[in-house]
């Protein structure tokens, strides 16, 4: 039962990592505020279910839609900014979400958080979600859409000269990512059964970015592997688990310097025989 729980939690976080893989790994958008989307997804689903009595699947759907819509609204003004400005603006947005959740205490319970959600989310749903999301991400990556993402990541100016509408593309990516992240948040709410506004701060958001880099910008499997290892690390290495984040930091620095494709850069989801030549 315990290992089930570990698998559940690890997989939940992996969904979140996959959520930002599309925008950060493939498209090079760095956001310190994705934690805000996790919270929004979690609270939307929880509020819709607990306060308005809607059925659980609808609650999930709501979370996804709200995530996408907010991604759109947030993206429109902010995606024109340079990378580090975007990073900071999204940090600010994450803080705004947190403050907003604390303020709207009537609806959200404020600092007291929300509890009492029934456990609707078990391992099957989580793993199933990972499969679906991986499939979506993989297909996007391999398609024209994904190639455009990578082009933008590597050199925005060149990409726009090649005729890619960088701005519109970024918005689509951001919307999809935010929707996935919000979905992950909703799953969290109905699995851990307690949510509070401080759930996912900028440091956790930063970790998602970092894990993506460790896993490998071009490797979905790599990112999944890195995420699985990090979030279940404590279970297998109890004695140094306290140092987990320090280790992560060291590993990341080394990886970026010596193996910038990521620790698992060679790992691909399909054995190479099945892949089409030329990417």
């Amino acid at each position: 039962m315990f290992y089930l729980k570990v698998l559940e939690i690890t997989s939940l976080y992996t969904i979140l990592v996959l959520g930002i893989y599309l925008m950060t790994g493939l498209t090079g958008l760095f956001s310190l505020g994705q934690g805000g989307f996790v919270s929004i997804g979690a609270y939307t689903a929880a509020i819709v279910y607990m306060r308005f009595g809607l059925p659980f699947p609808l609650a999930l759907a709501f979370a996804i839609v709200v995530g996408a819509v907010l991604g759109f609204l947030v993206g429109i003004p902010t995606l024109r900014l340079r990378r580090d400005y975007f990073l900071l603006v999204t940090f600010g947005l994450g803080e705004m979400v947190r403050a907003g959740l604390l303020y709207l205490a009537q609806l959200t319970g404020g600092a007291l958080g929300m509890a009492g959600m029934p456990k609707k989310v078990g391992l099957p749903l989580i793993l199933g979600s990972i499969v679906v999301i991986t499939f979506i991400t993989y297909s996007l990556k391999r398609s024209r859409f994904g190639r455009d993402c990578i082009a933008i990541r590597d050199d925005e100016m060149a990409a726009s000269m090649m005729g890619i509408n960088v701005y519109a593309h970024k918005i689509k990516v951001f919307m999809i990512s935010s929707a996935i992240t919000a979905y992950g948040g909703a799953l969290y709410a109905f699995n851990i059964l307690f949510i509070e506004p401080n759930l996912f701060n900028w440091l956790e958001s930063a970790k998602l970015i970092i894990i993506t880099f460790v896993g490998g910008l071009n490797s979905i499997a790599g990112v999944i592997a890195a995420s699985a290892i990090y979030y279940s690390f404590g279970e297998f290495f109890r004695f140094i688990d306290v140092w987990r984040d320090v280790l992560l930091a060291v590993v990341v620095v080394l990886v970026i310097i010596f193996r910038p494709g990521g620790l698992f850069q060679g790992l691909s989801l399909l054995p190479s025989k099945l892949k089409r030549k030329g990417r």
């Binding site: 290992y3 404020g110 600092a111 509890a115 851990i192 401080n198 699985a228 279970e235 306290v242």
Partner: protein, 396 residues
Amino acid sequence: MKKSILLLLSLAVILGSVSPVFAGGQTEEGGPIKVGMYADLSAGTAQWGTDAEKGARLRIKEVNEAGGIMGRPVELVIYDCKLSPTEAVKAYARLATQDKVPAVYGSLISNTALAVSPVAAQTKVPVISRAMDERATTPGFDPDDPENPGPANPYFFLLQPSAFQQAAVIAGYAIDELGMDTFTMLYDKGNAYAEYLAKGFAYYVEKRGKKMLGSFEFQSGDVDYKAQLTKIKELGADGLFIPNYVTQNANAVKQARELGVKARFLGNNSWYKPMDEVAGPAADGSYFPNNMTFDDPSTQWFFKSYKAEWGEEPRLHSFSGYDDMGFLLEAIKTAKSTDPEAVRDAMEATRKFEGIIGTINIDPQTHRPVGLPMAVLRFVGDQIETVEYKYLPKEP
């Protein structure tokens, strides 16, 4: 693609089945009795977690020196939950299902308690905790209707007065012993612990017919409260209640002094050491409740013992760890069994556990202690002194 998912899953399963070699559950009769504990050993409240661990270990050592329980030695299995609810849930699950402990000592802090509480109800291994948030023991608690807490979680116990109870102690003392009539407060809006104390304080003050002139919040990461304190100064109340964590309280106190706020400061049990080192003389004249006090003659032996064992002075949660682990072990002894159900029943039936911090008398309705007094202390300069060893406020 399904292949790799399968690969990952099988990896997890393989590692999982290999791990019991390293772990190992409750063994046959005659082996040591493992008791579980999870605490914040790193992250923001790490000091409390490590203190509690030391207190718990000291108690276990004493019990073992006296022959153990039912002739078996006690062994502590402890995990770091890093102030994170998900880590706490994992730690609890591991203790309950892998290490198969009869009971778990966990959650000094409310956020982890609230995450573990429902899991405990399902897993049916009892948890004792210091989390003052009423919802950990009575999940239906509504701070706006504190008289009706709802049913208790059968597998969760609180061993110190809850937030509302503690707020009542200091509010009652302020009204009855210090003669205060008007109050303001400054608390961390993002922290349920502080917010519950604040609500409890306001509730008690109003029930006693006194006035809350103003209630001011700050965001969790803020360190500067001058804007709020300037308004507080303007309101001129008798008392200012500051119920947050140590560094926030210290910052608030120093800044309030600087601005010349006239109110007397009232605190929570986070005002005990090391608040004296961190706030220094700015805290002069403040009063706060605490679970224990350091010059109580009946507890001096603990200071000596602890210092001999760990080489440092015990702090608040050193006492917590010692008492709470004692309660847990006593329940196992009374139940004469390591079956979690039997231990749970013994816990619920505990009426007179003599801890160093007081006599614990569990109310089976709420799973919280009843009539547990607290000490009231005050700052004179930058020194803490005891004013009351055991104080219980008047009913509102």
